[in-house]
């Protein structure tokens, strides 16, 4: 632990190089690479294991000890997406993600702009309420959603799940965009308005282009959460509008789990988000902390 403490200072300060310092630095380096390697293996192993399993035959999956080399097969993907028609659930997922992200980002960013620029009655309380919607256990909202949707006939429809996901993602958009709007000087808008822009024209021509990174970050976070979301999808859908995360649990049956097909679907669930998240890493920090850490 102690050498770790030294690392923070070493980063900033150049010491006079002496031979003993150099060898100490070399040991520190070796230990930190070792820790990073171990941590990376621990982080990646389950994911790699799961992906490799999706290319295994049923026999290879149940062989103990697990074989290191096997003949890869695409049969699991074929069975899952063609025979068991998981393509339908994939399309459902895409529809729900697109719909809920568009609603959450467009409404949420407009709301954030109003919170940032206008003084409203009880705005602080409303902001707090919005935050609690994102922080409370989802079950708090799932029970009313379930009751209302079944009574309105919106149970198991795309639009029902889209509204639920949008409601659950909107608080994050509002808070994230609020941090972006608050960081934007008002002078720019005032200059535009002096030059004859209306409030709405200012918003769409000046403000939104300036906070484009914020909109992108919100969209990214919304897409990831909506794509991965399970609890709402499980409770609010049954057959017609089921998304991939809700449908994948169907492989765990009383007569055993279909691991091959399950891992194939799981791979399809995680790979797009993985690629996405690594590309937009810098947005993730600000987005996941509601704009608290920049």
């Amino acid at each position: 632990m102690f050498f770790l403490l030294q690392l923070t200072s070493r980063k900033r300060v150049k010491h006079t190089p002496t031979s003993s310092r150099k060898s100490k630095a070399r040991i520190e380096n070796a230990v930190s690479y070792l820790i990073l390697t171990v941590a990376t293996i621990a982080a990646l192993f389950p994911v790699v294991w799961m992906i490799s399993m999706s290319f295994k035959t049923r026999i290879d999956i149940f062989t103990m000890p697990p074989p290191l080399f096997f003949n890869p097969t695409l049969n699991n993907y074929f069975v899952a997406f063609i025979e068991k028609n998981f393509t339908k659930y994939l399309i459902n997922s895409l529809v729900v993600v697109a719909g809920s992200t568009i609603i959450a980002v467009s409404l949420g960013s407009l709301a954030a702009y109003s919170f940032s620029r206008f003084k409203m009655w009880a705005d602080k309380h409303i902001l707090f309420d919005i935050l609690t919607f994102r922080m409370a256990p989802l079950i708090v909202f799932i029970i009313p959603f379930y009751m209302i949707w079944t009574n309105l006939g919106m149970y198991d429809t795309h639009i029902g799940l889209i509204i639920a996901h949008a409601a659950f993602n909107m608080p994050l958009v509002v808070w994230l965009m609020l941090s972006f709007f608050d960081g934007l000087p008002r002078d720019i808008e005032e200059a535009a308005m002096v030059d004859g822009c209306s409030r709405l024209a200012t918003l769409f021509r000046i403000v939104f282009p300036l906070v484009a990174p914020g909109l992108a970050a919100s969209a990214v976070i919304c897409i990831i959460f909506s794509w991965n979301e399970f609890f709402f999808a499980m409770v609010l859908t049954s057959v017609y509008a089921k998304t991939l995360p809700a449908a994948i649990t169907g492989f765990v049956t009383t007569r055993g789990t279909l691991w091959g097909e399950m891992t194939a679907v799981a791979t399809v669930i995680i790979l797009p988000v993985l690629a996405f998240a690594i590309i937009v890493q810098k947005y993730l920090v600000r987005g996941l902390t509601f704009g608290a850490v920049k």
Binding site: L5, S9, A43, P46, P65, L288, T289
Partner: protein
């Protein structure tokens, strides 16, 4: 059950505070709350410790910083339900890879870490640590990178040792970021559902029947919706307390 909200054709009877009275004397609610807090404390504590170490290492002057960080980030974006399924597979006593190696060293022979009541909670904690340590690392890393350089130079000029620099410069400067991570992670851990639901389903017995799983079982599995709603409202009030801390952090000084 003398009334039910699950059936539209039944009359709706006003029961006053009956559900909340039941809640106070319901040992499952308190059992769930107790293990949920245990779970959250263990998971968040471990995540902060490991996350801080990894954050320091990945912000250091090492080769391939971006690659290390991207690779370590992977578990964070895996869908919670997939996390549960991966661990369900790897811990399967008959043909899971982790169970296989545990058997090799003589642990959990004929059973599994999620089947033994004594280790079930710890297993879910470790799953959470695997899943969310990258989140802590990512945010603390961003925090460390945004620290100003001057205090470090001043501290070294004044002859502070590395330990003192960490204790009196880095930690105080990083406290706001650590608080954000702590609050976000605690709130997420307190509402754990997806992963545990698929891994243990609240079992063995009711060892890992965390609050939300308990509320889900009562409301949407047994369809005692009124009582389930009362329990979830109770959980909502608990999360309100933490939420108000976070709100003050975001907005309090503004």
């Amino acid at each position: 059950m003398d009334y039910s909200l699950a059936y539209v054709y039944l009359p709706r009877i006003f029961v006053g505070l009956k559900n909340f009275r039941t809640l106070v004397f319901d040992e499952w609610v308190w059992h769930g709350l107790g293990i949920t807090f245990t779970y959250a404390a263990l998971a968040v504590g471990l995540e902060l410790l490991i996350g801080l170490i990894l954050a320091i290492l990945t912000t250091r002057n090492i080769r391939g910083k971006a690659i290390w960080r991207s690779l370590l980030l992977v578990p964070m974006v895996v869908s919670p339900i997939v996390v549960g399924l991966i661990w369900l597979q790897m811990l399967n006593p008959d043909f899971g890879v982790i169970a296989y190696f545990l058997h090799k060293v003589g642990l959990f022979v004929g059973t599994g870490p999620t089947i033994e009541p004594s280790t079930a909670i710890l297993t879910t904690v470790l799953m959470d640590v695997w899943h969310w340590t990258p989140f802590v690392m990512l945010i603390l890393g961003a925090g460390i990178l945004s620290l100003p350089a001057e205090p470090y130079e001043a501290a070294v000029v004044d002859g502070a040792s590395s330990l003192q620099v960490f204790r009196y410069v880095t930690l105080p400067l990083l406290t706001p970021v650590i608080t954000v991570v702590l609050l976000l992670r605690t709130m997420d851990a307190l509402r754990i559902f997806d992963e545990v639901w698929i891994l243990t389903g609240g079992g063995p017995g009711s060892v890992t029947r965390y609050s939300v799983i308990n509320a889900y079982r009562i409301s949407l599995a047994q369809f005692n919706i009124g009582y389930g709603a009362a329990i979830s409202l109770f959980l909502f009030f608990i999360s309100l307390v933490l939420c108000s801390f976070f709100f003050n952090l975001l907005r309090g000084r503004g």
